[in-house]
Amino acid sequence: MMALSFDLALAALLIVSALAAVAGRGLFRAVIFFIVYGVLVALAWARLGAVDVALAEAAIGAGLTGVLLLAAHGRLRREGLEADPGAGGQGFAAIGGAGVALALGWAWFALPEPATATRAALDSALPDAGVGNPVTAVLLNFRSFDTLLESIVLLAALVALWMLARDGAWRQRLGLPQHARPGGVLASFGRVLPPLGLLFGAFLVWSGADDNGGAFQGGTVLAASLLLAMMAGLYLPPRIGERLWQSALVLGPVVFIACGLVGALVWGGFLVLPPAYAKGVILAIETGLTISIAATLALLVIGPPEQAHNSGGAA
C-alpha cells in the first residue's frame, strides 16, 4: 500500500513537471522544470532498482542537459531571441501526442511474457566476465562493440558541433567568455568543488566494477567538475587545435580499438575477452573511456568557438 502510494505520487509529479516543461509560460521556466523533471526521472529509475541508470540520468539527463539548455537560453538572450512565440497547431499536436500515449499504454498491456532465456544465459556467463556488476559486464564485455561505436558517435557529434562555428571564429577559444569575479563566490566554489569531483568521479569509475557506478557516470562527474572550473573563470576553455585536448578526446576510442585488435590477433575475435584477462582489459578500456567521455561531454556543453567580441583575440 505504501509502495503503491509512493509510485502514484511519483507518477503524478513526473507528469506535472513534464507538463510545466512543455507548456510552461516562458522558455526559462520550461528549462527549469525540465531539470526538475530530470531529477524525478532519476528517482523513478532508483525506484525500479536500476541504480546505474539512475546515476546516469541524474548526471547526464538532468545535470548536463539542463546546463546545456540554460547555456543556450543565455546565448539566445544575449541577442534578444529568447522570447517565446507560444504554441501553434495545438489541436493536431494534442491528437498526435494522445494517440502515441494511448498506443504505448495499450502496447504495455499487450506485451507477451518476456523470454527469460537471455537472462539465464547472462547469469551463467557473468562469473567469467571479469567484473561483478552485470551492467558494466554488458557494457564493456558482452556488448562492448556498442560502447565502442557510442564513443565514436560522441566524437562525431563534437566534430559536427565544431563545424557550426563561423570561419572567423575557428581559432578562438571554445564557448563564450565567462565573467566570474576573481575573488567571488563562484570562483571560490570553483576552487573547492573540482578536487572533490575528481575524487568522486574516479571513485564512481572504480566502484562500477563490482558495485553501482561506471565509466559514463564517473566521466560525467569529471566533465561537470571541468565545466565548473571553466565557468568560474579558473580554467580557460581550449582551442580546437590544442594537442593535449585532442589526445584526450581520442584516447578512449583508440584504446578500445587497440584492445579489440589484440583480441582479434591473439584471442580469436575482435573485442573477445578471455576470462583470465577480462578484468585487466576492462580496466584499461574504462580508464581511456572515462578520460574521453569527460573531455567530450565537457566540450559538447561548452559549445563551438564564438566570434571574438572584444579582447578575446589570439594571444
Binding site: 507528469i15 512543455v22 525506484r47 532498482g49 543556450a72 539566445l76 522570447a83 507560444g86 554488458v138
Partner: protein, 108 residues
C-alpha cells in the same frame, strides 16, 4: 495494478507530452526540450518492460538505456548549437511558423 504498470503508463503519458511539445512548440529550443522528454519517457517504458520478468531490471536493457542517455545528450548538444546558429540567422522559429505580426518596417 502494481507499481510497474503505474510507471509504464506514466512513461507513455510522458512520451505523449513530448510529442505534443515537438509538434506544438514554435520556439526551436522548446522542441529540443520536448525531444529529450520523448527520449527519457521511452527509456522509462523500456526499463519497466525489462523489469517484467525475473528479479530486478534486466541488465541488458539497462546498458542500452545508459548508451541511449549519453547519445541523447550528444544529439541535444548538436541540436542546441543548430538552434542557436539558426536563430542568429533567421530567428528562433522556423520561417514558416513565425507568428504573423505586421511589422512597422521591414529590416533585412
Amino acid at each position: 495494478m502494481n507499481g510497474l504498470d503505474i510507471l509504464a503508463l506514466s512513461a507513455s503519458a510522458l512520451v505523449g507530452l513530448g510529442i505534443y511539445g515537438l509538434l506544438a512548440a514554435r520556439h526551436l529550443l522548446r522542441r529540443v526540450l520536448a525531444f529529450n522528454l520523448v527520449g527519457s519517457g521511452l527509456f522509462l517504458w523500456f526499463g519497466a518492460a525489462g523489469a517484467c520478468g525475473g528479479v530486478g531490471v534486466d541488465p541488458i536493457p539497462q546498458a542500452l538505456i545508459i548508451t541511449g542517455i549519453v547519445v541523447a545528450l550528444a544529439a541535444s548538444a548538436l541540436g542546441v548549437a543548430l538552434v542557436v546558429a539558426h536563430a542568429r540567422l533567421s530567428g528562433p522559429t522556423l520561417p514558416e511558423e513565425a507568428p504573423c505580426d505586421p511589422e512597422p518596417d521591414s529590416g533585412s
